[in-house]
């Protein structure tokens, strides 16, 4: 299933580049944060590819840090910047997230591996084996829980909320569809854990691929501007 993670990685980095280009044009901080989140997404799937060929301690730690801890939170933080209008709130939350991310990186990188690392099986997903290999203290586990809840809630919840507003006001059809796709796509990697518990580890890779494709398609829909919108409208008064 390595090829699925390779495709996910390519799409994630292409998606990140598209978001960064839009940030250069528009200068919205939410775009910068989404771009960072997508780079984390790409790093998570890239290290999954590496771990599918050989065991590497650094790859495993980057995989855990980005895939399990930071991706959802940074993507969600972009949505917070887009939706939270109250002055200073989003910026303060970003500073807290940055501090928590640095702390998470320190905790993950200084934690030693267990002897089980020697028995790492490249034919099994890293998500099946990391608990036996990585030593995670209570704070690391707590931060993983909090970052995932925060990220999933803000990213998916924000997209659902935006889609609902567009639907209720009957405006910007493309953005409504785009936000529905983003919400569905963001849910996919989170559902990957459920697939694992159902004994379908390969579906984790599929959920990551479907997730990034749906989000990318949703992003292109949400940012698509119909030609008619660019034309000046004649007025009678």
């Amino acid at each position: 299933m390595h090829y699925i993670s390779i495709i996910s990685t390519l799409i994630a980095f292409i998606f990140a580049a598209a978001v960064f280009i839009r940030y250069q044009e528009r200068k919205g901080l939410h775009l910068l944060l989404w771009g960072v989140g997508l780079v984390f997404y790409g790093l998570g799937t890239l290290t999954e590819v590496v771990l599918g060929f050989t065991f590497n301690e650094l790859a495993l730690k980057i995989w855990y840090l980005t895939g399990a801890m930071l991706t959802a939170a940074w993507l969600g933080q972009g949505t917070v910047h887009l939706l939270v209008r109250k002055r200073g709130v989003a910026f303060t939350l970003t500073l807290i997230l940055a501090a928590v991310s640095i702390l998470s990186a320190v905790l993950v990188f200084v934690a030693p591996l267990t002897p089980a690392a020697a028995a790492f099986n490249i034919s099994r997903p890293a998500s099946e084996q990391y608990k036996e290999i990585m030593t995670r203290d209570g704070l690391t586990i707590l931060l993983t829980i909090l970052l995932n809840i925060y990220g999933t809630f803000t990213l998916v919840g924000g997209a659902i909320y935006s889609a609902y507003l567009f639907w209720r006001k009957k405006v910007l059809f493309n953005r409504m569809i785009g936000n529905i796709l983003i919400a569905a796509g963001a849910m996919m990697p989170a559902l990957g854990g459920t697939f694992l518990r159902l004994g379908l580890p390969d579906w984790l890779y599929v959920s990551e691929l479907v997730g990034v494709i749906l989000m990318y398609f949703g992003f292109t829909q949400a940012t698509y501007k119909p030609v008619a919108e660019n034309k000046p409208v004649a007025t009678t008064s």
């Binding site: 829980i145 919400a183 989170a190 854990g193």
Partner: protein
């Protein structure tokens, strides 16, 4: 332009499927979101069995 000087957003004509299907999809997604969050907490706390 509106009175505030802001260009109004483009309205779309809703069809029956937009009126009915979109809220169903949004409710489904919201339910999945809540369910996923509960599962994340339970699995990371070790309450649910790991694979």
């Amino acid at each position: 332009m509106s009175a505030s000087g802001k260009k109004p957003s483009r309205k779309f004509h809703s069809s029956p499927w937009t009126d009915r299907l979109v809220p169903v999809i949004l409710v489904l997604l919201a339910t999945l979101l809540i369910g996923t969050l509960v599962l994340v907490v339970l699995s990371l706390l070790g309450v649910l069995p790991s694979p």
